[in-house]
């Protein structure tokens, strides 16, 4: 299979966050296998997303004065915010965005938030590090992340008083999916296996033997003195896990309505490769079904997809923290702040009258420095890491017009449309403005630009 321009764009917008015209052009006529391989190779050169972390404070938190505690909380807020900003900047600037797109999928899948920069840094390292690696390794690593253990209350999961939250979500959300044959009894028995999985203040996983339940448990019909890793192994041995993840992938990367045939194909590749993510996703992105016309240009870009892809496509940089927070909050998706443990609802849920107007007006804010009229609600949490300081008057953006014009030298407005709009697009040539930037604004202001 040789990909045409729209198909290359389709692949790079779905498997990544899109790319500029030059990059797209370099792949036209190549096979999806080869393009993916090159993209994955580029990902190997990616550097970690890293923020400056605080020195470990030896005094126990409880013994600190209120002023010291406040200072620590304030510093933590700054770290959480900094990590959010650094990650978006990386998504927008990395040579290949595949790793971060898949990591974004995992952030949604292993939804988590924390008020602690050290914990979040470690969590992000894990989901980025394993994004294109092995799912079993990632599942085990994420399950030991302080951010996740805290988010799902496993720090409180003790032999004397088990807390089932983690055990329930690991089955319902991370592996098997809801109502997939396990019972309440399986959950409470599995919770006993996870007793004692906790963390210390410095952000290290701690197995606290003293509060671990060492007695025999019965989970999924098997009896033994299982610990947490045993439960995770049992979940991985169940092919339903491969199927559940594949189902989510197809809905996320291909079409929200799903595709049973493709899901099965991807699940088989996933399971038989012992959960190798690259193998499974290669099966997905190289399948003819993925390139079916009905799958192209019909996905509503998530806010993060929109914010990042517009930068990657158009030689644009948005690096100002307030601008980036503003863009996330106005559209209802803030990294490290999923609405709940189930992650972000996708698709039409992003669109209401306000977010749609905002999206259609966004090119004016980006390319014309239009004054900002709408603002997110003031935060009601004193400790909100994502509060915007002061009132933002306009977005701070940096457009490399030379590079952009270079991409479209001697090209018509139709070429620009073919690049910016996915799907069969027909507009009379006379409708286009004459000025190049106006043409870009014209096209990116169309509802069709919200689709990929």
């Amino acid at each position: 299979m040789k990909l045409n321009q729209q198909e290359v764009q389709h692949l790079l917008l779905r498997a990544g966050f899109g790319d500029n015209r030059q990059v797209i052009g370099s792949y036209i006529g190549q096979s999806p296998e080869l393009i993916l391989q090159k993209q994955f190779e580029l990902c190997n050169k990616n550097t970690p997303v890293q923020i400056k972390l605080p020195k470990y404070e030896p005094t126990p938190y409880k013994e600190l004065s209120e002023i010291e505690k406040q200072a620590i909380r304030k510093e933590a807020r700054e770290q959480v915010k900094a990590l959010n900003i650094e990650w978006i900047k990386t998504m927008a600037s990395a040579p290949s965005s595949c790793q971060d797109k898949i990591a974004m999928f995992w952030h949604d899948h292993f939804a988590c938030s924390a008020a602690n920069g050290v914990f979040l840094q470690s969590y992000l390292d894990t989901i980025r590090g394993h994004a294109l690696g092995n799912f079993g390794d990632m599942l085990k690593a994420v399950s030991k992340e302080p951010a996740m253990l805290q988010y799902l209350n496993n720090q409180q999961n003790k032999k004397s008083a088990p807390n089932e939250n983690f055990a329930r979500e690991v089955m319902e959300l991370f592996t098997l999916g809801r109502d997939q044959g396990y019972t309440e009894k399986d959950i409470s028995e599995a919770a006993r296996a996870f007793t004692g999985w906790g963390f210390d203040r410095t952000g290290n996983f701690k197995f606290r033997q003293m509060v671990h339940d060492n007695n025999s448990k019965v989970v999924f019909g098997q009896t033994g003195n299982f610990d947490g890793d045993d439960i995770l192994d049992m979940l991985l041995a169940n092919k339903q896990t491969a199927h559940y993840i594949s189902q989510k992938w197809v809905r996320y990367f291909v079409h929200s309505e799903g595709n049973e045939k493709l899901e099965k194909k991807v699940a088989d590749a996933f399971y038989s490769s012992n959960y190798d993510i690259k193998t499974a996703l290669t099966a997905l992105f190289t399948s003819p079904d993925f390139y079916d016309k009905k799958n192209i240009g019909q996905r509503i870009k998530s806010p993060i997809e929109l914010i990042v892809s517009v930068q990657r496509q158009l030689h644009l940089k948005i690096e100002d923290p307030s601008s980036l927070l503003y863009l996330q909050r106005m559209q209802g998706q803030v990294l490290f702040n999923p609405p709940n443990v189930a992650g972000w609802p996708d698709g039409q849920d992003w669109v209401d009258s306000a977010t749609l107007l905002f999206r259609l007006h966004l090119p004016q804010l980006i390319f014309k420095s239009a004054l900002i009229q709408n603002h997110p609600d003031s935060s009601f949490d004193d400790n909100d890491a994502f509060a915007i300081k002061g009132r933002l008057r306009a977005l701070k953006t940096d457009l490399n017009l030379n590079e952009l014009e270079n991409d479209f030298k001697n090209k018509s407005a139709d070429d620009l449309a073919l690049f910016l709009i996915q799907g069969k697009w027909s507009v009379d040539a006379s409708a286009y403005p004459t000025d190049f930037i106006d043409q870009i604004i014209f096209l990116t202001s169309k509802p069709e630009y919200q689709l990929c």
Binding site: L356, G423, P447
Partner: protein
């Protein structure tokens, strides 16, 4: 009996939401075509951040209260005493006027089982009306719209915000967020929209339809809400202008049954005394004017205002003269059509606490169910999970 309930519901289905198709008709035509509109209005006011209800509606004679929170209560002289049991926060004089006029019903000890102390999670629980161990991606008002509105997008609910809250998100229907009708109208004018998509797909159709409905709603609101201009002097802050805008929409006869506004800043972990009083004063002064305004346009009797916060605060004050996140809280109902005025149930018992927190006696979902069944005249069972017997306030 059953039949008449059914036809009433059918009737409301047509009337509680304006569909985009009818919006652009000249009003004289609409009057002939559209059924008579439902009269009742629900206004929801969200106090974001967790208002300390115990320092709002105060059992001031309780000696333990002073012992547990020595720095939170304003001086005895400034407290607004109602009787030998109850006093209002010093910032609540407008509220006291409404209370004395029989426009207020206070529900004490409202909450839900297994309460959550996170702002975001608890707010989601209140807005989605989910049990605390379940996650819903729709809100209770959104599900009301789903149930009562046809397939066309509508403006059944308006939120005074630039961002739509979970409460107003339904599966099919969504509320309309705006901060100012004029600005909303201008914003739709700024965007040039073609009537039909240039790419053919169901999602492109969906986006174009949403955009067209937004434009129609904006135009309808812009034209309709000009009918009544408030002469009342609302305080000069965002909450004041939000409530003024709502009052003008209601008094102009805008055909949306639900309005949503919020006031934030109640997360008073430190120096609570002055901070909370200022916020309560903003709320209470605005609400008194809002009530006066609707009374002068004869809409108050058909308006119900529900004020809530995502949780109350701990009974014992913390080390920085503030309070940390708590559990049960009070909830206020206002309007000219209250069946029960004053205190609906006794003030919370601070001598019987649940690990330092007020215990809940009324599930907020029971309050919602009552409002849905008895005020909005819909069937709450499909909107709120669980079968809640109506309370007796409307």
């Amino acid at each position: 009996m059953l039949k008449s309930t059914h036809s009433r519901r059918q009737f409301l289905k047509q009337s509680s939401c304006i569909t985009a198709g009818t919006l652009l008709l000249p009003s004289f035509l609409q009057a002939g075509l559209a059924p008579m509109t439902q009269d009742t209005r629900l206004v929801i006011v969200q106090l974001s951040g967790g208002n300390d209800g115990l320092n709002t509606i105060i059992p001031y004679q309780n000696t333990d209260l002073l012992r547990l929170r020595p720095n939170l209560l304003s001086s005895d002289r400034r407290l607004l005493k109602i009787n030998d049991e109850l006093a209002f926060n010093a910032g609540f004089s407008g509220f006291r006027d409404l209370y004395n006029q029989g426009d207020v019903c206070i529900l004490n000890s409202v909450g839900y089982p297994n309460p959550n102390r996170s702002h975001f999670r608890s707010m989601d629980i209140w807005q989605s009306a989910s049990p605390s161990d379940e996650y819903l991606s729709t809100g209770w008002i959104g599900r009301y719209l789903d149930q009562e509105c046809g397939s066309e997008a509508n403006i059944g609910a308006i939120e005074m915000s630039d961002v739509l809250s979970l409460a107003l998100k339904g599966q099919k229907e969504k509320g309309t967020p705006l901060t100012n009708v004029g600005q909303f109208y201008q914003a739709t004018k700024q965007v040039e929209l073609d009537p039909t998509p240039h790419v053919h797909s169901p999602t492109a159709d969906f986006l174009y339809k949403t955009a067209a409905n937004t434009q129609n709603s904006a135009q309808y609101l812009y034209e309709k809400s000009k009918i009544y201009r408030s002469k009342h002097n609302y305080p000069n802050h965002k909450f004041g202008s939000d409530m003024k805008e709502i009052s003008e929409m209601i008094s102009s006869g805008v055909d949306a049954p639900i309005y949503y506004a919020s006031l934030s800043g109640f997360d008073t972990h430190n120096n609570q005394l002055g901070r909370q009083e200022r916020l309560l004063q903003m709320y209470s002064e605005t609400m008194r004017i809002f009530a006066d305004d609707l009374k002068s346009s004869d809409r108050w009797k058909n308006t119900l205002v529900l004020t809530f916060s995502e949780f109350g605060r701990r009974v014992t004050q913390n080390g920085s003269q503030g309070t940390d996140h708590g559990k049960a809280n009070n909830l206020f109902l206002m309007g000219g059509g209250l069946k029960k005025q004053g205190l609906y149930n006794p003030l919370p018992n601070i001598n019987q606490l649940d690990q330092g927190d007020l215990k809940h006696e009324i599930d907020f979902k029971q309050v919602y169910s009552t409002v849905l069944n008895d005020w909005l005249k819909t069937d709450a069972r499909a909107i709120i999970k669980g079968d809640f017997k109506s309370l007796n306030f409307i």
